[in-house]
């Protein structure tokens, strides 16, 4: 990182074999005679005002991931350097196949990348080569930044063996037998080398030279489609962002149509000038292929953020990714054309979800249990799937009216309002299993005028374990007409000698 000219030299320290040693240092520290692997006390003796920081792998990783996220402005295929030997090699791989022409060729891309990283305060060593292995070696041990197509083997042969991403112990033992450069082993017979140093050596050599293909694993899943706009002058106003989103949405409609797909999950990436990347996600209940609706969903999403979207010095790249798309049924769309699609139920659910958060727009799902509070749950509508609503409806219809809901006589046995937690009451009731006569709930005394019950609901021993108590539910009406659903917790004399009473619901 760049620092003020007067700032003291910066080093990063870590404990290596019970000694605090320097594992990274900046140019000023180097100029003052500090070396790598020097113990901190020696370095302090050289430079008393050394600014030293203990290594923090977690934060390094987090920062690297952020940089990787930012690098997606060049290509969707950005991977962390995941070689086990390279734990402290904070490197990134980018596969720029087919992307370089967007920035004026390979030279243009690499200089743009370097300038932008430097503007953010990072010094990066960059190299572009045919294979990840060769690029890795050249970035660390070579001089050239762009290796012409097919010239990578030639370029890396004079480099040190460390450039092959080998464990340090292996490099040391190879060095002891006089093999110091990649060129030394490239010409040797393979079998004896593999037998002596393991197959890993040959694999790494082949990966660097291109004999074996090496795939990098991108951090983020690659979007099915994406469109982007770059700006010479960064955007800061919400209206401008909204306009750009509209234009981007227009841009993905045609490719979606060509593929017969509709958007289910869209992601808007806003690349800020200083390297920060904001991501906004919207999900839809059914495949969507209407630019106006997509723009509106993102507008709701941005509005829902209030002021959390910090434009800072502005966004210079905005990209719209189709993270997930599903087949779009044109016939279905035509059928829906009777209603204005804009105002349909699904569009409403999408808009609400985009603004308020998906988890706040829910539908009931029913479970097969008699314990009232477990018999239902709420699921975000967006997670119920495209045909989930229909399927769910069929499933629910079977469960909607469990046999106990309605008596043959048409008497309602389940309340309309259920309390999240049953509320403890003071009650006067007949023992052993009579209905309550008087009770006090939320500080108000009630006298019972009529009651029905008990309806016994046994505990689920397979869930609650031994000793869980049976509930006897009563429907109770007081003298003013309030109807309650309450239960006695535990069978008198068998499960407890002093059963507690709980209020659990209200009837209409």
């Amino acid at each position: 990182m760049d620092a003020h000219p007067d700032a003291p030299p910066v080093v990063v320290t870590d404990t290596v074999k019970n000694a605090i040693r320097i594992i990274a240092l900046d140019q000023r520290a180097r100029d003052n005679g500090v070396r790598l692997n020097q113990s901190l006390s020696d370095a302090r003796a050289l430079v008393p005002d050394l600014d030293c920081h203990p290594a923090d792998d977690a934060r390094n990783k987090a920062l690297l991931l952020k940089i990787a996220g930012w690098c997606e402005r060049y290509t969707p295929l950005v991977a962390l350097d995941a070689a086990p030997e390279a734990e402290r090699n904070h490197g990134l791989f980018m596969d720029i196949t087919g992307c370089a022409h967007l920035l004026g060729g390979e030279a243009g891309l690499i200089s743009d990348l370097e300038v932008r990283l430097r503007a953010q305060g990072f010094h990066a060593r960059l190299c572009l080569a045919d294979t990840p292995g060769a690029a890795w070696a050249m970035a660390r041990y070579g001089q050239a930044r762009i290796i012409a197509e097919g010239a990578h083997a030639e370029a890396i042969l004079p480099l040190s063996l460390s450039g092959l991403r080998l464990p340090p112990a292996m490099v040391a033992s190879l060095g002891r037998v006089g093999l110091k450069t990649i060129g030394c082993i490239a010409g040797l017979p393979r079998a004896p080398l593999a037998a002596r140093f393991g197959a890993r050596l040959m694999q790494r050599l082949d990966q660097a030279l291109g004999g074996e293909t090496e795939a990098i694993s991108p951090i983020m899943p690659v979007a099915e489609l994406s469109t982007e706009r770059r700006f010479a002058e960064p955007l800061t106003h919400q209206d401008e962002i909204s306009h750009v989103t509209a234009a981007l949405a227009e841009g993905i409609i045609e490719p979606l149509e060509r593929r017969g797909l509709g958007l289910r999950h869209g992601r808007l990436k806003l690349f800020r000038v200083d390297g920060h990347v904001s991501e906004l996600d919207v999900q839809t209940a059914r495949p969507l292929r209407d630019a106006k609706l997509i723009r509106r969903l993102f507008a709701e999403r941005i509005a829902g953020l209030h002021d959390d979207l910090d434009a800072g010095f502005g966004f210079d790249l905005i990209r719209l990714d189709v993270a997930h798309a599903d087949p779009f049924d044109a016939a279905q769309a035509e059928m829906m054309a009777g209603h204005s699609a804009d105002q349909g139920h699904d569009a409403l659910v999408d808009r609400l979800g985009a603004r308020l958060g998906l988890e706040r727009v829910q539908r009931f799902v029913l479970a097969d249990t008699h314990i009232p509070e477990r018999s239902f749950g709420r699921q975000p509508v967006a997670h119920l799937g495209v045909n989930g609503s229909a399927k769910q409806a069929a499933g629910n219809a079977a469960l909607a009216l469990p046999p106990e809901t309605e008596h043959p006589g048409g008497i309602i046995t389940r309340p309309l309002i259920l309390f999240d937690r049953p509320e403890l009451m003071q009650t006067i009731a007949e023992v052993p299993d009579g209905p309550p006569l008087k009770f006090r709930w939320r500080g108000v005394a009630y006298e019972v005028a009529g009651s029905e019950g008990p309806e016994r609901i046994a505990c689920e021993w397979w869930r609650d374990g031994r000793g869980a108590r049976t509930r006897d539910y009563f429907r109770v009406e007081d003298r003013q007409g309030y109807r309650f659903w309450m239960f006695r917790h535990g069978l008198y004399g068998r499960e407890t000698s002093d059963p507690a009473w709980y209020m659990h619901g209200l009837f209409a």
Binding site: R360, L366, R414, P415, E447, G450, E477, L506
Partner: protein, 298 residues
Amino acid sequence: MSLSRLQTATDILEARTRVYEAQAYKAHRGMALGSEERSSPLTLGASAVDHCLEGGLACGGLHELRSPLARDIGAATGFALGLAARAMAADRGGRGIVWVTDPATRVDGGGLFPAGLGQYGLDPSCLTMVEPGDLQGAMWAADEAAGCTGLAALIFQIKGNPARFDMTATRRLMLRARQSGVLALTLRQSGEEEASAAATRWRVNTEMSGADDDLERGVGAMRLSLTLERNRAGRTGQWLLAWNPKDRSFDHAAPNPHARANPPAHSLDRLPVSADRRNPSGKMGQVLDHRQDFGRAS
């Protein structure tokens, strides 16, 4: 300014006016077409109430239901669901009910129990529950839902009389519901009377259920004491209704002769428990606590 330039300006003005008029006419026509299909009023099923409402509740419009006490919410919810179920059954092209709740209503800890929806003939999956994090979000969600033609009914549950949900907010809801033809209901839990743009305002009290012949001392079907406190289009009134789960309609009910025959020994004043009501009016005959020391108060 020369005469010709003035002439041009007038021409432009005229042309603009014509465009605006055309737009307004189009908007009006579109509105009329939209509401025409769904303009038939929603009947309750109880003849006297429907007669008083001159046919029924205006479907595209806002109606306010309030329950004076926190524990009356059961009755008010029942009434709201009954209306929504009838709106669904009337099949006006709406495919569901959206239920928006203000988070303040969750403080009392009650939530809708899907197993209880059976008596209204409602499938739990036709309900979309929206629970925003604050009242502002809830009002926005209600606005959006009221403007959605794909809905049969919107139920917006709020607690008390929050200052933010004012005349402007209710008028907006009313207008959007009128355009879309959605039956919009605000369910005001322990709320006071308040000026609003709603077409009608109902007070819902629970009423003692009728004696059930099959069950001695049993609990019968829901009964509501409904008071139409305000009706923009006509008269007001008070009725005793019962929900009929078989026909899914409201019926007139006879009062229970035993109801309140012997009032509870230690009766309590029915104090409304509203969250943040403004300027609560004192009740007639209520004993107020006057301050004795006016002189010393600073």
